[in-house]
């Protein structure tokens, strides 16, 4: 059996092991590859950076546990940026699992930045109904969320007192892992109510949102863990996104290497079988 045949018939578990090592080693021994910021992430950063302190933004957590490693780091980065700029996020969720993750992100960032519930941010909680809720928010936040996540009427929350509907928030940010998610927010908040929409999504779904960016329907977009790492670079805070980027880069290099080896052995095998036929 030649080298090419041996490579072609390699036990797939060896490949799994190499991939695992390609991820574990950079996590344990960080290399610190530079992180290039893409224009879509910079646009989102600039959109928030341009808001005057005291502005309110609507932030919807529409993801679940299966996409936590990709989207949670984005939410941390964006909340940090908001709090440092004095922008007041109004949190909500159209996915039931979104709110526990929002609370976890708030717990970290509120403690770091010393913010106060009700004064600097509010958490409206989860509401079932997806697109119908988005539509209701255009009429009145109080209609969609009579009370916040902890049962307090919105009228009793200082940060909500000057917020009636989309007109009173500067931008809508969505952390999206599916439906309802970014397309629905673009359709309702941007399409019907003319509110700028930005957000973060899983890397799988990022390519489908690029047309929205090109058409100006999205002000900016973070795609996957890389998007989170880029945002962390912009706010000069290394966290979960940046921590995973070395492993991500090495793992991609390993996959490219496997593709090259796989193709090389395939063509080598074909070439040698042709040569054997020619000599026999």
């Amino acid at each position: 059996m030649g080298f090419a045949d041996r490579i072609r018939e390699i036990d797939r578990r060896i490949i799994f092991l190499v991939v695992a090592l390609a991820i574990i080693i950079p996590l344990l021994i960080p290399i610190g590859f530079p992180i290039q910021v893409s224009p879509s992430v910079r646009d989102l950063y600039n959109a928030l950076e341009s808001l005057p302190p005291g502005s309110k933004i609507l932030m919807s957590f529409d993801y679940g546990a299966s996409t936590y490693p990709e989207i949670y780091p984005m939410s941390l980065a964006l909340l940090r940026h908001c709090f440092r700029r004095g922008v007041k996020p109004i949190i909500m969720g159209l996915w039931p699992e979104g709110i526990p993750f929002a609370e976890r992100a708030l717990q970290v960032t509120v403690e770091e930045e010393g913010k106060v519930y009700g004064e600097d941010y509010a958490n409206l909680g989860f509401k079932a109904g997806g697109i119908v809720v988005m539509q209701a928010l255009g009429r009145s936040f109080e209609e969609a969320f009579p009370v916040d996540a902890y049962g307090t009427p919105l009228s009793d929350i200082p940060v909500m007192q000057s917020v009636r509907n989309y007109d009173n928030v500067a931008i809508v940010i969505d952390f999206s892992a599916g439906d309802p998610g970014i397309p629905a927010w673009i359709m309702i908040a941007q399409g019907r109510f003319g509110k700028p929409v930005g957000g973060g999504c899983t890397a799988v779904s990022a390519p489908q949102f690029f047309p929205y960016l090109q058409a100006g329907q999205l002000v900016g977009l973070m795609g996957g863990m890389k998007g989170a790492a880029e945002y962390e670079t912009l706010i000069r805070t290394r966290d979960l996104g940046s921590a995973g980027m070395d492993a991500q880069s090495i793992a991609h290099a390993v996959i490219v290497l496997f593709i090259v080896i796989g193709n090389a052995t395939f063509f080598l095998g074909r070439w040698s079988s042709r040569r054997n036929k020619g000599t026999s």
Binding site: V19, V204, Q214, G224, K226, A251
Partner: protein, 207 residues
């Protein structure tokens, strides 16, 4: 203590699932069945408490009897579970589809087609990227034009369209690989920096 116990349960279940990469085994099957069962129970309870109670039960108790209509439609949907009367669910489904189409058709068309057409038409051809974008859109559309045989200029344009589509699929696949690795990194991060430090020997790894 509760957090440590939670970390151990999560770590062991993660390792049970990963064990499938070696070969199918009872630990993997246990974790898989547990996940399916817990998910079903969790979602049932969550939707009951977050949808049925606040959106149906409470309004009815407060005397908003119009809510009987969505309640009946919901029960009609559940008729799918009884094969003999399963056809009744079609009425509720028809209502949802009809209402959804009427309510969102124009907005959907505007957001997902017309806005992009407008943006492409108003592009200035002053950069290589913009020129490529317009050529990609046109040749991609030509590839999906089946009313004339793909021969001559049309055939050449369609072939170019296939190239653009293939590059788009490649980029999309690259993003998919990145997403899957991100999930794996997330799990590894948890195992190395949250679970292992619960063992005294690895305490130095805690972050």
């Amino acid at each position: 203590m509760g957090q440590i116990a939670g970390a151990w349960v999560a770590a062991l279940l993660t390792l049970f699932i990963f064990s499938f990469l070696y070969k199918d085994n009872p630990f993997y099957k246990f974790a898989e069945h547990l996940f399916v069962g817990v998910s079903a129970g969790y979602w049932f309870a969550y939707y009951y408490h977050n949808v049925v109670i606040p959106n149906l039960y409470n309004p009815l108790r407060q005397g908003h009897f119009l809510y009987i209509i969505p309640g009946v439609l919901g029960i009609m949907m559940l008729m799918r579970l009884v094969p003999k009367v399963g056809w009744i669910s079609r009425w509720a489904l028809a209502f949802i589809i009809g209402m959804g189409s009427g309510y969102f058709l124009i907005t959907y068309l505007q957001t997902n087609a017309l806005a992009q057409v407008e943006a492409t038409m108003s592009l200035r051809l002053n950069s290589v990227n913009n020129v490529l974008l317009v050529i990609g859109v046109l040749t991609g559309l030509i590839y999906f034009f089946f009313s004339k045989e793909h021969k001559g200029v049309l055939g050449g344009a369609a072939k170019l369209g296939i190239w653009f589509l293939m590059i788009a699929f490649g980029a999309s696949f690259g993003y998919t690989v990145m997403a899957r690795f991100s999930l794996l990194i997330g799990r590894m991060h948890f195992l190395i920096f949250q679970w292992l430090p619960t063992i005294p020997f690895f305490r130095g790894l805690a972050r």
